[in-house]
Subunit: 186 residues, 2 copies
């Protein structure tokens, strides 16, 4: 049911069409939080409308339909936000690979980790730049957009991953040079 609330949440920020929402997923949500394609989004929008949680507020060129959240939708969304489950659904292929690093020999493990260092550094730089731009263009004293909170979370997460990957490479090197002959049994 998370897709339903992801859509309601995006609609709560501003009205949007299925096409808009698809692009929002690609740009922001997909990398950190949730993934969905247009083939899933359009039917769900129709269901949201059928359930009275969203409604079509404009029809434009090329069959474009702009949806907005309804009061009922807002109530439903708020209730979902304030009642988190005890255990969250997590599916993270990257972290899965970290878990399975133990199945590789040191050289292979290093080969997996090195791109992690570079990728996280690149993500970090991109995010920091867009945060700096946003911070300087925001009038002083204004409410910081909540998007700023998420960006900060992303920034810290990439920093953590970067630092960790460097540390992990170091750990592997140490183990490898200290006692390389213990390996290669079996």
């Amino acid at each position: 049911m998370s897709l339903r609330y992801a859509l309601l949440g995006l609609l709560a920020e501003e009205p949007a069409s299925g096409y808009d929402l698809t692009r929002k997923f690609e740009r922001a949500l997909q990398r950190y939080a949730w993934h969905a394609q247009h083939s899933q989004i359009y039917p769900e929008l129709n269901r949201l409308a059928a359930d009275g949680l969203a409604m079509v507020v404009a029809e434009g060129a090329r069959g474009r339909r702009t949806y907005a959240i309804t009061d009922k939708g807002r109530t439903e969304l708020r209730s979902w936000m304030l009642n988190p489950p005890d255990v969250f659904v997590v599916r993270h292929e990257f972290v899965l690979r970290l878990f399975l690093l133990s199945t590789l020999d040191p050289d292979d493990a290093r080969a997996v980790l090195r791109p992690v260092v570079e990728d996280s550094a690149r993500e970090l730089a991109t995010l920091r730049e867009s945060i700096d731009t946003a911070d300087t263009t925001t009038p002083p004293g204004a409410l910081p957009a909540f998007g700023r909170l998420v960006a900060e979370y992303g920034l810290r997460s990439f920093q953590t991953m970067h630092d960790w990957a460097l540390w992990a490479l170091d750990q592997i090197d140490q183990a490898d040079t200290t006692a390389p002959e213990i390996n290669h049994s079996e």
Copy 2:
């Protein structure tokens, strides 16, 4: 296909039954990396065996079947580990809620964030304790188990989340006391 590799990876560490694997998911993978129930694990084990990537190596009481990874399975797993996709699948309901914090008013946002501070502190303490125990029981000079790498990643991730949530609460307070009258329009 990630489930397939998660299972292969766990079998690469040691032979296990479907029942064992189900518990491993519950204990470790589920919270951080991937989730699966027994109803998905048993059929997939049968498929792994049919494809020659795993095989039954022992049959025990109560119909228990212990599977082990085959050489073909190891080759397949290694190839998967060394060829990561450009973009990872991420489904993280917790982070989704962070994104949608912007749809809540400051009081509601605080109500969402406060438990995050507490939960992450608790997870942090538990993880640190089990890491300390593992570190002191590991004979000095031995190869650090790769599980130690993941534990460290978990530790740092929870620390990051904890620090971020405190920072976010502070940001909300500041915005709320600086310019509370800007809100409540519309």
